[in-house]
Amino acid sequence: MTGLLRRLLTATPPASTDETVFLERQFDLGLAWVQFPVGSGGLGASRSLQAVVRRVLTQAGAPTQDEYLRNALGVGMIAPALVEHGHREQWNRWLRPLFTGAEIWCQLFSEPGAGSDIAALTTRAVREGGEWVVNGQKIWTTAAHRARRGLLLARTDPQAPRHRGLTAFVVDMGAPGVEVRPLRQIDGSAHLNEVFFTDLRVPDADRIGGEGEGWQVALTILMNERVSIGGGVADEGGGAIAEAIELWHRTAVRDDVMRDRLVRLWIQAESARLLNLRAAHNYDTNVPGPEGSIAKLVYAQLKQQVYELCLDLKGPRGMLFGSYNMHHPEDHVPDDFEIQRRYLFARGDSIGGGSSEVMRNILGERVLGLPKEPRPAG
């Protein structure tokens, strides 16, 4: 693998190579996801080696994980599910443009009637010959407005028990029958979308996994999502406390009570960072475990408290704000009121990607082994 890395960096020196070309080459050499099969961006190697690749490439100035963030969902969550539940013909079609960012992906799970409760989905896919006809509505979809493809979870067997009647499909977001409408959030920005399907036709060749196996596909994605959000927010969380400290140093009127809050949060941020390093260690060496749920829970709370403190430090200036005009996140122009925006936006950290309540259920049940809620009678 060291040889491959050397070839990559020699043939396409990051400093002088177009980013897309570099990523294509990285994929072709099997260095995109080393644990994937050969020919599909991987080497069939141990997952733990991916950390080494990441470190070497980052040091060499190659496009870092930050670059992947344009397609974070695709690279971090959907690709592993495609490899686990799809087949080679599908990998050949989708993985390379996914990795290079040529095709952005989104995840089409949540519905108005089913937020945290994915087993309650009602979007229908009905078979007609070699195709499926999809009707229904998805909501809270990140990046749908710029995605080329989406991983859809739809109900194919309404008679089967809740979890069993779901099937996963890859849909072309540009196809007729797909309509994307932006959804504004608390700060006026439109990070999320609604997606409407009207008689969308999906070839059966784009089904992922067997009929009725959509729940397993979703689980793979959700487990990866938590690790990914855990990892992602780790940096953001660190960013939050750093912002607070920077603000503290610029604040004229300070007192011991605020100082104690700040130190308390600093300790929490540091402990979360250390905890996350342990989680990352496990992620690199094993299949994704429940550590991501701890990180997600901790960072959601931490960020909310840190930005609360920031506003209190700002005092009356905390009442000011920039613009609530609607815009997509990629068009956001920072202003002098970013901390206020983050204060507002942090409320979503305990909701999106599995609410804090769901995270606590997961920790209680999957880590501590406590009994589940009984299903209601009848």
Partner: protein, 375 residues
């Protein structure tokens, strides 16, 4: 103290509350709040006049001789709770609490006679301009100067975070003279006042920055009287704001409970899960506690006595925290919908957090309270 009497609204007060609530549900539904918060003025002058003519809200605590109804601060609390619940976007706190409070306590009969009738009738929008660059409502930070020349006072300086300063006809300005900080009335139509609206996180309550350049002004009360008048007015404002906060917090709880009873996830209404049920219970406890403090504080604001500062600080601290908590939990209970622009939960969070920062943070109130209690 005669607590039991204090803590229950009278039948008349409850009837009045219902009238105000019905009125606000008609003139200030969410659609109107959203329309107005996007406008520059930020309020509806027709509604403002109806508030005065139909219900006499602006003149509520103004004595009858000046065109008001001479009610007590407890009735004002009833009104403010409902305005907080409805997120009414109108210059009421500025006009009927701050400016009216100054005029009632300034000891200047002629100023009262000149200004209060206009306020009571809904003609005049008024406010108090105290804070400057620091944003603190503190006399020590006042640098705006009043100078007398040719028998007329003129003001120079900049006031910031002036509630409804962009639309006020009458601004009562705290300005420094040789005798300390005095109170001055400025007619914003008379020139010398530059007004710049601030872009606020809480769009339902507007603020402005006012520049005074040789602005003609009229001295209200004695020279240097601000040190005597304003602390009382600020205590009253903290109590009034607390009443608004309790009203908002209770509305958030009602929204949470309604949603939790309806929204089904995992085959059950989410309110049947203890995570949600206990969150609602905890918010209930805080709302009821806040309500108890506010009712006691409204009593203190209505009667002569020396317990107003303690109760104002208590109310400012507790109700600020309780409202932010209720508004944040309301978002959480509503999930992604609570976080969306289209749903009203975020408007309450913004109002709650901004209200906390408006007159000094909860922690500031506690610091003041420690001093008052000798701790």
């Amino acid at each position: 103290m005669n607590d039991p009497i204090v803590l229950a609204y009278s039948e008349e007060q409850e009837q009045f509350r219902d009238v105000v609530r019905d009125f606000l549900s008609k003139v200030s539904p969410e659609s109107e709040v959203r329309r107005l918060m996007e406008t520059d003025e930020g309020f509806d002058r027709t509604v403002w006049h109806r508030m005065a003519t139909d219900l006499g809200l602006q003149g509520l605590i103004i004595p009858e001789e000046y065109g008001g109804s001479g009610a007590s601060f407890r009735e004002l609390g009833v009104v403010l709770e409902q305005m907080g619940a409805a997120l009414l976007t109108a210059p009421y706190l500025s006009t009927s609490v701050l400016a009216t409070g100054v005029l009632l306590r300034c000891g200047d009969d002629s100023a009262r006679a000149d200004y209060l009738p206009g306020i009571a009738s809904g003609e005049t929008v008024a406010t108090l301009a105290l804070a400057e660059e620091s944003g603190r409502w503190d006399l020590e930070d006042v640098e705006t100067r009043a100078v007398r020349g040719n028998g007329r006072w003129r003001l120079n300086g900049t006031k910031n975070f002036v509630l409804d300063g962009h639309v006020a006809d009458l601004v009562l300005v705290a300005a420094r003279t040789a005798s300390g900080v005095g109170l001055f009335a400025v007619d914003t139509r008379a020139g010398g006042v530059g007004r710049e609206p601030l872009s606020t996180m809480d769009q339902t309550r507007k603020q402005a920055r006012l520049d005074f350049r040789d602005a003609p002004a009229r001295l209200i009360g004695a020279e240097g009287s601000a040190a005597e008048v304003l602390p009382v007015v600020l205590d009253l404002a903290a109590v009034a704001l607390a009443a608004e906060q309790v009203g908002g917090a209770r509305r958030c709880l009602e929204m949470s409970v309604a949603h939790a009873g309806e929204r089904v996830q995992f085959g059950r209404p989410i309110g049947s899960f203890q995570a949600v049920k206990h969150k609602c219970a905890d918010v209930l406890v805080e709302v009821e506690s806040a309500q108890s403090i506010v009712q006691r504080a409204l009593w203190a604001a209505s009667e002569p006595g020396d317990d107003l500062p303690v109760l104002a600080a208590m109310a400012g601290s507790y109700c600020s925290d309780a409202y932010v908590r209720a508004a944040a939990e309301n978002i959480q209970i509503h999930g992604a919908m609570g976080f969306s622009w289209e749903f009203s939960a975020h408007l309450y969070l913004k109002r709650a957090k901004s209200s906390e920062l408006l007159l000094g943070s909860a922690a500031c109130h506690r610091r003041r309270l420690a001093g008052l209690l000798g701790l």
